[in-house]
Every structure is written in C-alpha cells, then in structure tokens.
C-alpha cells in the first residue's frame, strides 16, 4: 500500500517534467501592440507544424525584454527601439531584433473632445496636458470639459516612444501622477467611455468612430498618423515593431520570424492595421 503510494508520488512528479521536455513551448512575451499579429501567426504554425507557442503580454515591451533577459521567455515582442537600459540590465544576453512592421503612437481623444474642435496638438500643448497645467480643454481651444489624461503605464513601448519624442529621453520626462492604463484594449475602452479624455495609443487602434487620433503640429507642419505618414517616417512618433531573441532565432522562434517576414506574415501585419516592412527595410537589425 505504502509502496504504491510512493510510486504514484514519484511518477506524478516526474511525468509532467518528462512531457515538458518532449515539446518545450516557445514562450513569447511583451507588447500588446504586436500581440494580435503574433497570436495569428502562432495559430498558423500550430496548425501547420504542430508548434506550441505561448503568447503573453505581461508588462508590455519592457516586461517582454525582462522576461527574455531572465530566461522566462524565448522571444520578446517590442514596440519601441531597443535602448541602452535593456542591454545594461542583462549584460550577458545577446539581444537580436527583427523588425516585422511599423506603427505610429497616436494621441487619441474621446469623441466630445474631437467634436469640440481639438483636431491637432502642438508639443507645447501636449506637455501642458501631460504635466497637468492644462486642466480644461477650453484653455487650448476645445470644449469646456476637464482633461482626463490616461497615461500608458511604465514599461509600455507606447509610453517610451511618447516620452522620448516629447522630452528627448524617457528619463527626462517629468514625474506625474496620472491614472494609468496598460494594454491597448484597456486604453481604447477607457478613452471611449470617458468624456474629456486623452491617451497614447497605437495608431492602428484609433478607429475614428469612438476614439480619434489627433494630428501632431510640429514646426508649422501638421501630420496625422496615416499609413503613408508612418511608412515614410514623416509622422514623428513612428516606431518599429520587433521580435527580439537572445542570440539569433532558432527552431520554433526562427519559424515564427520567417513566417512573419514572408508575404503571408506581412499580410497579417497589414491586416492588423500596421505597416509592413518591405524589401530591405525589414529583416535583421542589431
């Protein structure tokens, strides 16, 4: 009796480990912007190659880099350029990034703000909004409505691109207390539901019906995050969508990267509202 118990205990502790060793899943973590593209690609690879790919979005781009650096993931989805901090935190890792698409960070406002006349914003106005100096939209020519700034939380690629553009360096951004949003889904739902609100959001997620991407007025020019402006880089908050591995992609990771760089994968990128990387513009970048 006791022996049978022991056997059962030993077997139950070994079996899961053995099955895991047989087919280790590819663990992908990071940006919610890239997430839908990678999820669809993973589905294709599961059907065609029987690959198991776990896609997670804990902590956004920097969360993905941390997971990759710590060995809790084999691939990070990163929707901002790689920064020195990534390398400084994990000096032993050899991060290799593959660009699979382009996206813009849009400044989105709720319907009442858009209809109240806010169609473009200048850098100075954005700083005022972000730092809480502009408390009512009427101060900058909008409707008489208090400003609610939903800030993308720390570590999100969207926030880092925004802060780098507005303040030169995320570290130079002033310390603010704002209500925070995490994933793109959350940002979209909160801006849609809250009158007088503004937030940073992936341009592809601004539908122009419930939430609206304002144009950026910079040096006398006004640029909206249109596909053309993102592709040719004239929209200032353009960012790469990247898959990052430790060392060059191997095995399942390579299959995933290759699929996303193929015409079929690039079609997925476009289908989700992002700009494809064409010809030599895409591919590997250190």
């Amino acid at each position: 009796m006791l022996r049978a118990w022991k056997l059962l205990l030993i077997a139950s502790s070994i079996l899961p480990a053995a099955t895991l060793a047989a087919a280790p899943p590819l663990r992908v973590n990071g940006s919610t912007t890239i997430n839908p593209v990678v999820v669809e690609a993973s589905e294709i690879l599961r059907k065609e190659h029987g690959l198991v790919i776990q896609v997670d979005t804990q902590g956004g781009s920097s969360g993905g880099m941390a997971a990759l650096g710590e060995g809790r993931a084999e691939m990070a989805m990163v929707s901002r350029p790689l920064i020195d901090e990534d390398r400084a935190h994990y000096p032993k890792a050899r991060f290799e990034a593959t660009r699979i698409g382009l996206d813009g960070v849009a400044l989105v406002v709720s319907r009442d703000v858009w209809q109240g006349g806010i169609r473009t914003l200048t850098k100075a106005q954005l700083r005022g909004l972000y730092e809480g100096k502009v408390k009512n939209w009427k101060e900058i020519g909008g409707p008489d409505r208090r400003v609610v700034f939903f800030n993308k939380e720390a570590g999100r690629g969207t926030w880092e691109v925004f802060a780098r553009w507005l303040y030169g360096d995320p570290k130079a951004a002033p310390l603010v207390n704002l209500p925070e949003v995490g994933s793109n889904e959350e940002g979209r739902s909160k801006v849609t539901a809250t009158p007088g609100s503004i937030s940073q959001l992936s341009a592809a997620w601004a539908d122009g019906q419930h939430i609206f991407a304002v144009g950026i007025q910079d040096g006398g020019r006004t640029v909206s995050p249109t596909p053309a402006a993102i592709l040719d880089g004239s929209y200032p908050l353009t960012r790469p969508l990247m898959l990052v591995t430790n060392g060059s992609p191997q095995g399942a990771a390579k299959l995933l990267v290759d699929l996303l760089l193929s015409p079929r994968g690039q079609a997925l990128v476009r289908k989700n509202g992002y700009e494809p990387v064409t010809g030599t513009a895409g591919g590997r970048a250190k």
Partner: protein
C-alpha cells in the same frame, strides 16, 4: 480488516503531517523570501518606506502610504456594504426560510464565490463605472475609475463569503437554545436577535473578518476599475472626495507593469517585494484574528 484500517490511519497521519509541514514551510519560505528580497529598500528608505507619500520609481523614491490608504479605503467600503447585507441575508436564510429553501439559496450564493475575479472585474468595467459616476455626481469624479468603484465591486465579491460563513455560524446555534428561548416567551425575532445572534457572534465576526481578508488580497478585479493613479494621499482623510478619485492599492500596484520591469534593479525590485511583505502582514493579521474568533466559537465561549 482491522490491520488494514490501522495502516490506513497511519498513512492518513503521515500524509496530513506532510501536507501541514509543507504548508507551514511554504508560509515561512514566502516570509523569508519577501523579507530578504525587500532588504535593499528598507536599507535605503527605512521607515520612510511605510510612511512616505511619494512613489516615483524612476528617481528611486518609494513610499507606500497612499497605497496602504487605498487598500484600507476600498476594503472599508466593501465591508460597510457587504457585512450588513451578508449577515442580514444569513439571518433571513437561517431564521426565516425553510430548510430546503435555505440550502438552495446558500448553494446559489456559494456558486457566486466560484466566479473568477477577472469576470467580476469586466462586469465592473461594463456596469459599475457609469453607475458610480452618477452615484458620486455631487463630488464630480473625473472618470468612473475610483476607489468607490473598487470598493463596491469588492463588496459584491466578498458577499458570498460573508453570507455563507455567517449562515453556518447562525445555523450552528443549537436547537435546544432556541426552543428554550421560545419556551420562555421570546418572539421569533427576539430569539434570533437576542439568543442566536449572541451565541453566534464570534462566528459572525469571523465571517466578516474572512471576507475582509479576501477583500484585502483581491487584485485583478480592483485593478480594472480603480484607475491605478499613484500618490493619491487624500487632503482630508474623512471625506468622500478621495473615494471619488482614482487611486492605487497594494495589490493593484503589484498587478501592474512595475512588477515585470523591476527585475534588473535591486532597489526597485526590493520596493515591489516590500509591497508583498506589507500585504502579507496585513492579510495575515486579519486572517489570524478571523480564525481565532472562529476557534473561540468552537470552544463554546
């Protein structure tokens, strides 16, 4: 046959001892882990970590008082709503409903406790945010994400726990007591309120405290409706205003992105682990208090 039973008993004892030891070790292990990992922040900030009102991780300022306030505020709202409602429902099911109906109600309520908290959170986003904006219109909240929203959502979530434990406590009062009370001429209401309630008081209190324990530890549902705004230390502690603003609790901070990005930075990671330690301590105190009250009831105080 006797031999077999003896053996089985032995096995049960060994197994339960093993599992108890495992639970105790896991508890101790977590305590040690949180303490050791949070050492850097205690060294840097000292008690300022507990009483500081500013949290800016980019400049390594870590003060958790606003989050402690947030945790206590949402839990207080939850308790103020759920305790009377839960205990009141228990009085109704035990003292008024026939046995069959009581069990049906109890089962239904217990099913509510099994719903994953993320579902409650999404329901909160869908139904509660607009309601709270209208409810607190007088204080003019900026959005539907407020401490009040979190508290009301928690109230719904801990209601099943409070109700079902209070029901157990009340139905545990012996029939002899009730019969004696009725024989002495007390009405049904008097029997319920003067005799059963007094007998079951430790059980009722522990039901409320265990509900509080659940409220303190709940993360994801609150996360979705509280707004996650740092450093919201209220200007006036005893006013409605802070409840009508966004805030942050110990758990919503732990559920946010900082937990994932703080790894490479020992001080930041220490500050996050410190949150876990403080939460652990608060939940521990409440749970022990709840369990002690329940024990007192068992001992027939």
């Amino acid at each position: 046959m006797r031999e077999g039973r003896h053996r089985r008993l032995e096995l049960t004892r060994v197994a339960s001892l093993g599992f108890t030891a495992f639970a105790a070790l896991a508890f101790l292990g977590m305590l040690v882990l949180f303490t050791v990992e949070s050492l850097p922040v205690w060294r840097q900030a000292g008690l300022g970590y507990l009483f500081g009102k500013r949290w800016f991780f980019r400049v390594h300022e870590f003060g958790i008082l606003p989050m402690v306030y947030g945790t206590l505020a949402v839990s207080a709202v939850a308790l103020l709503v759920a305790a009377p409602l839960g205990v009141g429902t228990a009085f109704f099911t035990v003292e008024v409903l026939p046995r069959r109906a009581r069990l049906a109600v109890k089962t239904a309520v217990e099913l509510l406790a099994g719903i994953p908290s993320v579902i409650y959170g999404l329901l909160g986003v869908l139904l509660l945010r607009d309601f709270v904006v209208r409810l607190l219109a007088h204080w003019d909240p900026l959005s539907g994400d407020t401490l009040m929203t979190g508290g009301l959502l928690l109230a719904v979530m801990i209601l099943p726990t409070v109700m079902t434990l209070a029901d157990d406590a009340l139905s545990g009062v012996s029939a002899a007591q009730r019969t004696a009370a009725r024989a002495l001429g007390l009405t049904r209401a008097e029997t319920a309120l003067r005799v059963a309630a007094r007998q079951a008081f430790p059980g009722l209190a522990s039901a409320v405290l265990l509900g509080l324990g659940r409220a303190l530890g709940e993360t994801i549902a609150v996360f979705l409706v509280i707004g996650r705004q740092d450093n919201q230390w209220p200007k006036r502690l005893l006013s409605m205003e802070p409840l009508a603003s966004a805030g942050q609790t110990l758990t919503t901070k732990l559920g946010g992105s900082e937990t994932f990005i703080s790894y490479g930075d020992p001080l930041h990671w220490g500050a996050v682990m410190g949150l876990a330690l403080v939460l652990f301590a608060v939940v521990g105190v409440v749970s022990v208090a709840g369990a002690r009250l329940a024990l007192r009831e068992g001992g027939g105080a």
